[in-house]
Symmetry: C2
Subunit: 350 residues, 2 copies
Amino acid sequence: MSANKRGDGMLSERQLYILRVLIDDYIKHVEPVGSRTISKREDITYSPATIRNELADLEDLGFLEKTHTSSGRIPSEKGYRFYVDHLLPSLSVSPNEMDRTELLSTEKVQEAEVLFDQSAKILSDLTNYTSVVLGPNALDMKLRHMQIIPLSSQMAVAIFVTNTGHVENRQIVLPNSIEPSDLEKLVNILNERLAGARLIELNSRIQMELSAVFKKHMKDYQNMGVFLDQLLLWSKKEKLFYGGKTNMLSQPEFRDLDKVRPLLDFLETRDLMEKLVSSTEKGVTVKIGTENEHEAMKNCSVINASYTMHGKHIGTISLIGPTRMEYRKVISLLDSLSREMTNRLNDFSK
Amino acid sequence: MSANKRGDGMLSERQLYILRVLIDDYIKHVEPVGSRTISKREDITYSPATIRNELADLEDLGFLEKTHTSSGRIPSEKGYRFYVDHLLPSLSVSPNEMDRTELLSTEKVQEAEVLFDQSAKILSDLTNYTSVVLGPNALDMKLRHMQIIPLSSQMAVAIFVTNTGHVENRQIVLPNSIEPSDLEKLVNILNERLAGARLIELNSRIQMELSAVFKKHMKDYQNMGVFLDQLLLWSKKEKLFYGGKTNMLSQPEFRDLDKVRPLLDFLETRDLMEKLVSSTEKGVTVKIGTENEHEAMKNCSVINASYTMHGKHIGTISLIGPTRMEYRKVISLLDSLSREMTNRLNDFSK
DNA sequence: ATTTAGCACTCGCTTCTAATGAGTGCTAAC
DNA sequence: GTTAGCACTCATTAGAAGCGAGTGCTAAAT
């Protein structure tokens, strides 16, 4: 039952323990950890020299790194990954911290937007990292009612109300070939036949099911196609809610302007953020460093939790921080917060 | 005709000239300017010693400062103020730069929001400062049409469309004391009697003009009051559009994290920004340093330009940068951009 | 076969000193 | 009124010295 460099790629108990202690310590103090520091812990019975040997092995295996030849060790990305996957002190051990549930203001929030915004703010306040809530995509909601309200002879506003109470609206140009009566018919048909369809599907449903109906009832069916495209061509509409955008500035590893700048720029770039934070996986996921597949994020971890409505995934709440994050705290926090959001959201529809 | 420290508080021609040259130079190089530097300019005929005397006087008068006893001079806030008010090389002298008009994408922008967003982005790209567009306050717009769309037995969505095509919407709780027929009547009355009124006025107009009508037509007039309050209690709704939020980080005077942080935090604080950027003055205004009345802004200048619609002020476009800004360039830029925005906006309503 | 004490060595960080140079204010001469 | 000359100030830079936390390796101890 020998220990360190076995061929089977397994770590000895002692190695596991040392690795965990080291990462815990590094996360807490953000400074390279040396053999002496570890050996000083009362639950460690080995001398610094022994520890050193183990550390050297752990480094060879890729779990640790040095900042320079004679420095202490810091966790590598692989080290963090292993820590998160196998070494996190069992998560359920945070019983009295769970009161956070109450942190979302108890007064009944009416608008989902306020809930998202509050959640993001709370999360960033509690962690001192940056948080992002990815709101539901209104286009996935179901059409409750639509309407076209003329503004002038040429312009009008089209309004779509979803089952969740979202309102999507856009200004449209009325082709002068279109007759008011046809417009009215169009609206009626859409409301009668397509109520309950997801907004995003409206256009294709029309193509498939309703072209006959249109042909029958409308005088100028030809031009209607172009108009419908204008009316129903959606652009992505998820909304992002931020908390603690500048919190990164107080993280010691980003105390350098040239390192924060790309980060802050990244945060401001909508599509990158959407990509980063989108995830359809249930529960909490952790992406570490380069796993986020963007240069600016290489020293950051992203924790992602999805929230649901009637059991269906509709958005995420995420936390962005340095790779050395307080994973344990943060994961359980995100877990409970996303549950709470789910609850609140489902309350709305009562 | 003596020169420097006259009792009348006027500056001599030479002092004016030196002051302007110094500030120009400082704005360009962002480094304290010494007497030698100034005397080296070919249009200056005096020796460094003479310049030094003038500089000392200008300092006594409060237009200049030193960073330490033996450093060159930098402009004081008062210096910048004077420069902006009296020394700016006549603004109209930027003829070939005026093509910027075209910078707003020529394809016809339909939504005002896109216009605002583009303008902010262009402005920050062109200047490398941070820009903010304060959108129109939808509540100042006139009611075109309103509607209440039920979601469930208790919830509904209220929608207000303005003459400019803005859509305001909110979820409301339907008191179960209210009868559907009354709701319908309410909507009808509002549309008939209050079309054309500014949203913000709706509630008071009802109090003043319509309570009689309500009393007459509705069964349950009592509870209506509370409901109306819920329906028509607006919260501020200006929208802010940003460009170059992180540009501050590349300004040499903010190369220090502890100095940028408050600035970035300030930018993220809605109400502070609204206050900073609101201005009902016509044309371009310049606020320098502490004139902005906030600690975080003490080393910044804010240039503000208002844009209008049908001659009425409806919003502003602003630039935030270090007090040593390229005022000349920036002011003329803002002037032409705000005009262009005004033009585009008025095109919409055709 | 592990474990540990001992030791030489590395490297980042801090402190100190000296040198440099841009700039000033003042005085006396032009 | 202007300017040359000079002593003086102060921020910045470079180098040298010393400190200390940490390592790897070897040889002895368990």
